[in-house]
């Protein structure tokens, strides 16, 4: 069969054709919403129209057949409209209240998991991992699955003081922008990369490789027509490896994951915050990463027990002080938590006012 005529620069289709009629009618004229329970909320328009949203978990990697299943459900209950969220859940938008319970019933029957709305844990922002990226020092999807199995109750029922946003990055490129999450996992290398000097000269550009290094650990090795890496300065970011294949950094025994906490994105109450390193290393333990998962759960539980209503993880920690966070969680404080990068000046304490 002949291919249709290709076009260029058409851009995305206009969103309007995908908006359910009730949205088109009340577009930009929503008045308020109510979170009914973790699976359902309702938005009320100035016109009085009501729009129910049922949110459904997604593993983000979807087989086309699953998308088709979602479409079928949307056709049955939502006039064929559906949307996905910025955290990769799928949302069914119902304008007819009578369809709400039947929808949920069918979702349950088909094994779809509802939840993620309000003050709990929703889907985990994550990246490609071993499924697709050359740089991955761990698998992202597997970690997410292991985490969410363990934290599932916070998705569909149990509530927390506020939203807890989780993320997983499979290398320090941190594609998911996990750097502002309540709790996130970042996969890390821990050993200096090795260089294949033979292939280096043909495959890599010297200035690019040197420039790629955040800590200026790389210098030319003219004799070998290659580079050398200063072991004192390299902190295994893998950026040289990204720009130059003959550099290899993967290490099955020593690659692992670190846990960062206390970030946030929105500006409610307090400014957006970066996540901060609290556990520098846990071995890669596929398929379930039990220690990493246990650590996250532990932090969630300590937060749940100690934070005030509405406090995000980072806000709670800033109120009590990081020294108290380490005390309450029992997490060992290591040299890795002391910043020696660009924020060192702002993160060292400059007063005797801390808690014992």
């Amino acid at each position: 069969m002949a291919l249709p005529q290709r076009k260029t620069d058409v851009g995305p289709p206009h969103y309007k054709q995908f908006l359910p009629p009730i949205v088109q009618k009340n577009y930009g004229k929503w008045k308020y919403h109510e979170v009914i329970n973790p699976t359902t909320m309702v938005h009320v328009a100035e016109s009085g129209d009501k729009l129910w949203t049922v949110r459904v978990a997604s593993p983000r990697i979807l087989a086309t057949d699953t998308i088709r299943e979602q479409c079928d459900i949307a056709e049955k209950y939502c006039d064929g409209y559906l949307r996905y969220t910025t955290r990769n859940n799928v949302e069914f938008l119902v304008s007819d209240e009578k369809k709400l319970e039947p929808l949920k019933k069918e979702l349950t029957a088909k094994g779809f998991k509802m939840g993620g709305i309000g003050y709990g844990i929703t889907n985990v922002v994550h990246t490609q991992g071993w499924v697709h990226c050359h740089g991955a020092c761990t698998d992202a999807s597997g970690l997410v699955k292991a985490m969410m199995d363990e934290l599932y109750e916070y998705f569909d029922s149990k509530r927390l003081p506020n939203k807890v946003r989780l993320a997983v990055a499979c290398c320090v490129n941190m594609c998911g922008a996990v750097h502002c999450s309540d709790i996130a996992v970042v996969a890390v290398h821990t050993k200096v990369p090795e260089i294949n000097h033979e292939t280096f000269k043909n495959m890599c550009e010297l200035p690019t490789v040197i420039g790629s290094c955040p800590t200026r650990a790389i210098s030319p090795d003219p004799a070998k027509k290659s580079i050398k890496i200063n072991e004192q300065k390299c902190m295994y970011c893998g950026n040289c490896f990204t720009v130059c294949p003959p550099i290899s950094i993967k290490n099955p025994e020593y690659d692992g994951v670190a846990i960062v906490v206390g970030g946030k994105i929105n500006s409610l109450r307090s400014n957006p915050k970066f996540s901060k390193l609290v556990i520098p290393y846990i071995s890669n333990e596929p398929p379930r990463w039990p220690k990493a998962v246990a650590a996250i759960k532990h932090i969630v539980e300590v937060y749940a027990k100690n934070a005030k209503k509405n406090e995000r993880v980072g806000e709670w920690i800033e109120r009590i002080g990081w020294e108290k966070f380490f005390k309450l969680t029992g997490i060992e404080f290591t040299f890795q938590s002391i910043d020696d990068f660009t924020f060192m000046r702002d993160t060292m304490r400059t007063a005797s006012t801390f808690k014992w």
Partner: protein, 410 residues
């Protein structure tokens, strides 16, 4: 079609448990798709050896475009021929991730025909990611999608697919039309999106309010955050309703960052001059409180992931801009921003990094934005500052004027 059946005990374990399983998805796809099947075996091998096997992406793509496809090859393609090539195709999602089932099914049908049947809905930037196909399928895929009104998203040193929160589609708080702006900008900058000519990637994300549901402030070179200029309207009756189920003083008043609220059990009061529009009170009492007055956005610039000089959050550049179609002011500004970046950035330097190197002043002057205290949390600490000749002339003129009027103008 089904090829070799792999023994996958490790990843099989990830089919257990309540959370939906990506392994189940892969198996679903694998039933009729050799690529997906080999992806399963390939992944099990990663789990077994604790190591990835993908190679650096080569440059693959479609004619006339410099991006939209991420090339991917396996080091062990012999063992898993279905993933020897395993490129991803980024389809530019519609604003707000709204779809009809018809459109989605069409997307699926084409993908089943040419690719692995596996997707990411969606990628972190916002694209609808088609996960894994062969080089020779790229042109057909592009023809099929583009002829049906779908285009590729960005990759490489180009504008990346802009993305936004649901905004006016289903949210009472949005301060501008996030969906329309995103669509409009994406259409405006098709060339910049498809043909990489920048120093590095450039991302745009648009959130309708300070909740920032698309995480713009942390992962977009240009972060557009909706806000308003005007008092918060209070419906005291609704306040009373909330009071029945909520400790207003503990949960709202006491958490207001500017301490500009008070509640005596009867009336809620807000000193709007001191409010910084953080949205906390509004989100907690959405029936009782709402913004009023002029609507628009704050433009922030520069956020990115940690490589090379550390993560950045976007910095406030334009405290307030009205955002109404055709968004001419914003588009002009974006072009000026790119011009400056083009002149000043080295390859692989994100704009935030270049601003840090060249100084905020150089950047602001180039794009024609005045210095304003809203751009900073606090003024500089060290007395190491630049004075242009023009500055000195201005300072001296001001002083001469003061001498005349006898009144200082600090």
């Amino acid at each position: 079609m089904a090829g070799k059946k792999y023994n996958t005990p490790l990843i099989d374990d990830l089919e257990k448990g309540p959370w939906p399983s990506f392994v189940t998805e892969m198996k679903k796809a694998a039933k009729n798709n050799e690529m997906a099947n080999d992806a399963l075996g390939h992944l099990e091998k990663c789990y077994t050896t604790r190591k990835g096997y993908w190679k650096h992406g080569g440059i693959v793509g479609v004619l006339g475009y410099g991006g939209g496809v991420i090339g991917r090859y396996s080091e062990i393609g012999d063992e898993f021929p279905g993933v020897a090539h395993f490129h991803t195709v980024r389809i530019n999602q519609p604003s707000g991730f709204f779809y009809t089932s018809k459109a989605l099914k069409e997307i699926c049908d084409i993908w089943d025909k040419y690719g692995s049947g596996l997707t990411n809905v969606h990628g972190s930037t916002g694209d609808l990611v088609l996960l894994g196909t062969k080089t020779e399928a790229l042109e057909p895929i592009f023809a099929e999608y583009s002829s049906r009104g779908w285009d590729l998203g960005g990759s490489g040193s180009a504008l990346r697919t802009p993305s936004c929160c649901v905004g006016p589609g289903r949210c009472e708080w949005t301060n501008y039309d996030t969906l329309d702006l995103t669509y409009n900008l994406t259409q405006e900058f098709q060339d910049e999106l498809h043909r990489p000519t920048f120093s590095y990637k450039f991302k745009i994300k648009a959130s309708g309010c300070a909740c920032d549901c698309v995480a713009a402030i942390a992962r977009a070179d240009l972060s557009i955050i909706g806000t308003w200029k005007g008092p918060i309207k209070i419906d005291q009756k609704e306040v009373q309703n909330y009071a029945k189920t909520m400790d207003i003083n503990a949960e709202v008043v006491g958490m207001c960052p500017t301490q500009c609220m008070s509640y005596d059990g009867k009336e809620l009061q807000i000193n709007n001059a001191e409010c910084n529009r953080c949205m906390h009170c509004i989100t907690r009492m959405t029936k009782a409180l709402s913004p009023s007055g002029e609507r628009g956005a704050t433009l922030c610039m520069g956020s990115k992931a940690p490589i090379v000089v550390g993560s950045l959050l976007s910095w406030v550049i334009v405290p307030f801009i009205k955002l109404e179609a055709p968004y001419t002011e914003l588009k002009d500004l974006i072009r000026k921003i790119w011009d400056w970046w083009d002149e000043n950035g080295k390859p692989r330097e994100r704009i935030g990094e270049v601003i840090e190197i060249k100084g905020m002043r150089s950047f602001l002057e180039a794009i024609g934005v005045a210095p304003q205290p809203q751009q900073i949390k606090e003024p500089r600490k060290d007395p190491f500052m630049f004075y242009t000749d023009a500055d000195m002339v201005k300072f001296k003129a001001k002083e001469a004027e003061e001498k005349k009027t006898g009144k200082y103008n600090f």
